[in-house]
Symmetry: C2
Subunit: 484 residues, 2 copies
Amino acid sequence: MGASQSPRPPEGLDRADELNDLGTAPGTPAGADTRTGDGTRPTIRVGVLGCGNVGAAVARFLLTDDKRIAERTGVQLELAKVAVRSATKERDVPGVEALLTTDAISIVTDPSIDVVVEVMGGISPTRDLVLQALRNGKPVVTANKELLANHGAELWDTAGAAGVDLLFEASVAGGIPLIRALRESLAGERIHRVMGIVNGTTNYILTRMAASGASYQEALSEAQSLGFAERDPTADVEGFDAAAKAAILANVAFGAKVVAGDVYREGISALNLQDFEAARRLGFAIRLLAVVEAGPDGALGVRVHPAMVPQEHPLAAVRDSFNAVFVEGEAVGQLMLFGRGAGGLPTASAVIGDLVDAAHNLTVKGVARKLELHQVAISPIDDLRCAYYLSLFVADRPGVLSAISGVLGHHNVSVRSMEQDAPEPEGVLPGAGAGTGDEPRAGQAHLVFVTHPAYERDMQACLHEMRRLEAVRRIGGLVRVVGT
Amino acid sequence: MGASQSPRPPEGLDRADELNDLGTAPGTPAGADTRTGDGTRPTIRVGVLGCGNVGAAVARFLLTDDKRIAERTGVQLELAKVAVRSATKERDVPGVEALLTTDAISIVTDPSIDVVVEVMGGISPTRDLVLQALRNGKPVVTANKELLANHGAELWDTAGAAGVDLLFEASVAGGIPLIRALRESLAGERIHRVMGIVNGTTNYILTRMAASGASYQEALSEAQSLGFAERDPTADVEGFDAAAKAAILANVAFGAKVVAGDVYREGISALNLQDFEAARRLGFAIRLLAVVEAGPDGALGVRVHPAMVPQEHPLAAVRDSFNAVFVEGEAVGQLMLFGRGAGGLPTASAVIGDLVDAAHNLTVKGVARKLELHQVAISPIDDLRCAYYLSLFVADRPGVLSAISGVLGHHNVSVRSMEQDAPEPEGVLPGAGAGTGDEPRAGQAHLVFVTHPAYERDMQACLHEMRRLEAVRRIGGLVRVVGT
């Protein structure tokens, strides 16, 4: 409110008294000497790159809640500049107009700006801007999963060399304080596995399909109309977004040099209503999981795929567009962090937490924690060993089950349960599955297997062989079972 | 392993090279100049007060995992001394024998010890030891909820004056990285409410009663035989343990000067099987919650009591001895942290996270974050406004429901649902409820009400008036409904 009535003076003009000994040469950390002689703490000036959903929420926070944040944390933050593409576009942030600039480079080079928040997204020109800010000694707070998952090592190296913070709590699972937990609280922990529901769009779709019997297309359309899904939903539903986050989780939880492209990836678009029906009967929920796990051989498994999760597992209780990350550690046991994974406000809350951290480090002359990544071997998906759900449409005649069982046995896949399933008429909603070929046809039976743990390569060999059996009309689906 | 083969030299002998400029006078922060000239980081020597369940796990961590922690965090920790009551008692920690001392004061005064871990518990002599350590400039990591909940302000003031860290992640909800989330990640957040399942013993008992139809006494005995409950379970089942944690949550989430004695407290021992039966039918789980919430008038509600929580609420999915803390904030929305709230290993994991933090701050000359507490008004329980579950045993005759409804209406309590319940024979397990007077008797009916939100004072006035009605044989139970 106050900010809208009294716009702040232009950059630098009121800085001399407070930060008269602030190093301004490139390469000198900004704020290296920000504590004033009388012991009071100076104001930390924040430049924000981007003013979309998250950027606007961050700007509003800084313009309206600065006093409260200062009281609570002892850190005085001041919004200095906001880089936007259009300076004339209307913004719903009172007081921000006077701070807008279309010159993003001026923010990362301005010596009067102490910290840079990057919420513009994308790789270009973002990557260059962030690198330049770090090289100029400015700590950077970013929410940019794409940038981190593809150029993380370069960014962390640059931050480390400059001795400044690169904080990224908002990049995975929005407002959930996950990155700090992994980097700091669990610093002593030997982590075995991290499993996350890190994409709210797909979790919403999966929850709807399970609860209402909506088809994939119906649930997707609903998510799109509610604004949970993009018009082109590929990044979400095919698991690209989750794969980027999986890479960042591998960086943070295991210190492993993993990029988005290293992540094995399957989306949710092939799931059908019969999978959800079977899951319900078998006591599972279907979730799209980003999994990072240490293998017995020291290699790291990093993958994104739908999974059958037991109903009593905490991840099964994560519904709608919520996110959660489940951590299994040697000493800490099981741990789960649950909350809003996206949205302007939750993401801005995480950005502000990081900003306070960076500002605190600047004012007390703290030294940033480095993130050092090590080259690790990544397990091929073939080496995965887990239980499987397998749905098959087969000819309804004697001898077929024996042939299928023979294939499984031949490849060392042991069956835990099998059921022959005909969809109950009352379970099929109008339009559901219609024309998708998912319903058993005359003379056709639907078999659902759950296996004991088996190797992925063996399971794939089974599928390969089954596709060549005349009696197997179609492979309905193969879903990994996790968390039993 | 290595530690057990080559016991460390006695205190101080190997310190001169590393920390030759370490301030040793009382009042001078230890580690104020711990960065060595060549830029390498010195070893941080840790003194541990107490070697029980948690202390032994911390010692084992430091003796066996020190290299891994150093690789991952850049912080080199060394176990220097462990204070115990008996130096001759057998300990299951290879290599610890040479480090044991019965002289706890020697740890908090030893200038060669950089950080103190307090896991001995209790108030005396712990309080004096912790204060002395802080005054001697040693950061303290503590798991002592009792001490913090009763003398927190004094400890944080002392730490603040000395400029050293007082870290206490392990004091609430064991291995769950809750305190750091509230202090740092949510630093910018306007928190509305924190609700925690912070006592594993009672959650185990409540889960058992709901799942198996065991009576309170049976479930308690089972918890005792499994080691989840003490022989004298009062601190757990009457909510004293949870009340101490509620006070710490109020400190951290709201910066409020609250001590354990300020917390309104009800335990679980009055709950009976009919409450669980009714909860199941009504779609609730019963949980013992520690609740801290900001009231509309700026006063803070701080209370511990059993609550009916909707089955679809994330807290309802927290079963057995797990803990979870649910946070509602202005920007972040709903957030939940779930995990192991007790046990040597999870608690030690939290201690190590704090130790790394304190050691990092020492080595980089960081300045500790202060926790400043403000006096706040605490809402009397009478001012609470929520929905209620009310179970009544009444005379089974016409006119009684009308009389009861009249009492509720007269006190502005509006009924959302009412059911008259006779326990189904197959729902009553042998021995369950036998002799507890919980089962309806001949000529007696059992009424279960759920109200719309009402004031506690009005609800209590209803109970007072109902007790005087001849037709009301007994108030079965009153449980607050939370999270709808």
